[in-house]
Amino acid sequence: MTTHRPRVGPLAATTERAPRLDIDALIDDPATGIIVCCGSGGVGKTTTSAALALRAAERGRKVVVLTIDPARRLAQSMGIEALDNTPRPVPLAVVEEGAQRPSRNQGGSLDAMMLDMKRTFDEVVLSQASPEKARAILDNPFYIALSSSFSGTQEYMAMEKLGQIHAQAQLDGSYDLIVVDTPPSRSALDFLDAPERLSSFLDGRFIRLLLAPARGPAKLMTAGVSMITNALTKILGAQVLRDMQTFVAAFDTLFGGFRQRAQKTFSLLQADGTAFVVVAAPEPDALREAAYFVERLTEDEMPLAGLVVNRASPPLSTVLSVEEATAAADRLVATEPDSTTAGLLRLHADRARIVMREAHLRERWSTEHPGVATAVVPALSTDVHDLEGLRRIGDLLAEG
């Protein structure tokens, strides 16, 4: 599955400090029409998307955020009980009394929705096929399994939904900015590969093979083909094969439409109005995923806005080094085993080590990917529970 990609970088470089990612310039630019947040799981991608969307809305953009994460907490933090497949308005107007923030939403608005992959798939089928044909597809056991559990469906459908919303927004001006949170894929690249994989699947010889008996006379079946069908029957059972054949035959006319739209969305992602924001945490695994993604975007000529490093340890405010602090703590413990000051010194040493490691990881990453603008967001001690929490993240993102 994993194709081997060469590393892409300057090959010879000196240590670089990453330029700062100017989030406000990005979201204020009316030319920015789509922001895609991508990165590996557990790095705070969904929260970043929501915070970006909220900030843009409060700075006057008409925003819709498309999330994949079913976390109820996020919906509630935006004042919505549960998100579904239709964009729902997020009430922004509430500005707490005595709050320092003046009403910032000059004409801005925020809608939020969560991708329901089965329903999106169903809607596409219903809109593209005649009622009888649609029914035949929707009732097919193979379709039911494909639309609700196939691990790649989410990526296809996220693409599909993005295309739909964009087309609608172009038509009626309902939104001028779409923020997309990508699925927590095994690999962050799955999202970009979705159209390509769909095409190669649809063009595949196997599909043609499945279609063959439905289309042509049985005598055209070569010995090779019957060997394959026999093997498949052995493995999957005759019933599965029959379901698949029925499905593929019924779905055949829809294939073209699917592929066309997926490719349209892909070129939409390549266009100037799109900005990719790669999200990571200051950990080797998350940064490695971010590196792959950045390199892939560069190769595919996709517009990369920059890197957001979430959950960074707060910087130190004293020059006391790890070695000094540790040595001092050891001296104190020798005379007073329960020394509070020794505890403070060890805490400091631990923290200094973590800060140093993170700084080193980030620096190395920037040397490998020079010129990639970066925003570093310090870890918050609590989860986000409300719009105020999302605003705080937005502030931190903008301070970068």
Partner: protein, 348 residues
Amino acid sequence: MGRAPYPAAVTTHAEQPFDWSGVQLHVVTGKGGTGKSTIAAALALSLASTGKDVLLCEVEGRQGIARMFDVDPLPYEERRIARGLPVGDVAPGAVHALHIDAESALLEYLAMYYKLGRAGKALDRFGVIDFATTIAPGVRDVLLTGKVYEAARRNARNKKARAYDAIVLDAPPTGRITQFLNVNGELAGLAKVGPIKTQADTVMTLFRSPKTLVHLVTVLEEMPVQETADGIKELRAAQLPVGAVIVNLVRARDLGQADLKAARTGTLDREKITADLQAAKVDVTHEMVDALVLEARDHAERRALEDAQRAIVSALDVPHYELPRLADGVDLGGLYELAAQLKDQGLA
């Protein structure tokens, strides 16, 4: 570091020591970013350190094991990646690793059960292998879990293959684990009969048996703890056996309860701190004391949040274990340290 790696007082979290020795298959899951692969590797090492032969499997195509153990990328083939040192008369155990990918598993399965020599190749040529492993829903999981099952049920049938005392599976994340293990449920709507269905049913009998346990890795933060609680509910609803909750990345406990309270309320004795620092020959400044007190407050706040989440974890009615956050990150030495902690706490 000049201190005990971890205070003895907090090493045992299980109310009574659990006996995990009858468990053959340890499935390790966890929310992204909580370190589930690290824990799976540490668990494999700790089991091996008791003299066992352990197989560590990964199924997500990430080559995480190779990176953690600093060895070449793993093929679809069992490789010994760590061997213990003999302690007294006890023979050393070993960790073997296996990188399972669905394509190879399918080809192996076909060769083994159907003797599909030429047809197997033809299937590949027609894109069927690709189709079956990426597009056909559920089939991928059946193949991945099927290979784990095969390794767990080695017997006279396959004489050349090595039998293991224990298998550790670095499984997909918490959000997907029930779907992943509940292979026959996933296939139910699709294949009601046929060999794939039979295979899925057989695999399920192992997963639902007392020989299997699913461990959930979490950190003491709201979202991961919530996801762990949800995951346990889902696993139980699917009759899959829940093992332990392993709390990872726990902050060092350099301050006692009284100090934590003082740090939170801003009542730490600054004069005493200044005097102590001078006594310890530190070139002390006001800013330095300010910084230390501020860092202590931040730490105390996070500790309070951790305690609140720990209370939720304790109420889950599942034995739990805690591992420290290693300030320098996890390298092979770090893995050994974590493995020793798991062993001390009685998980291996």
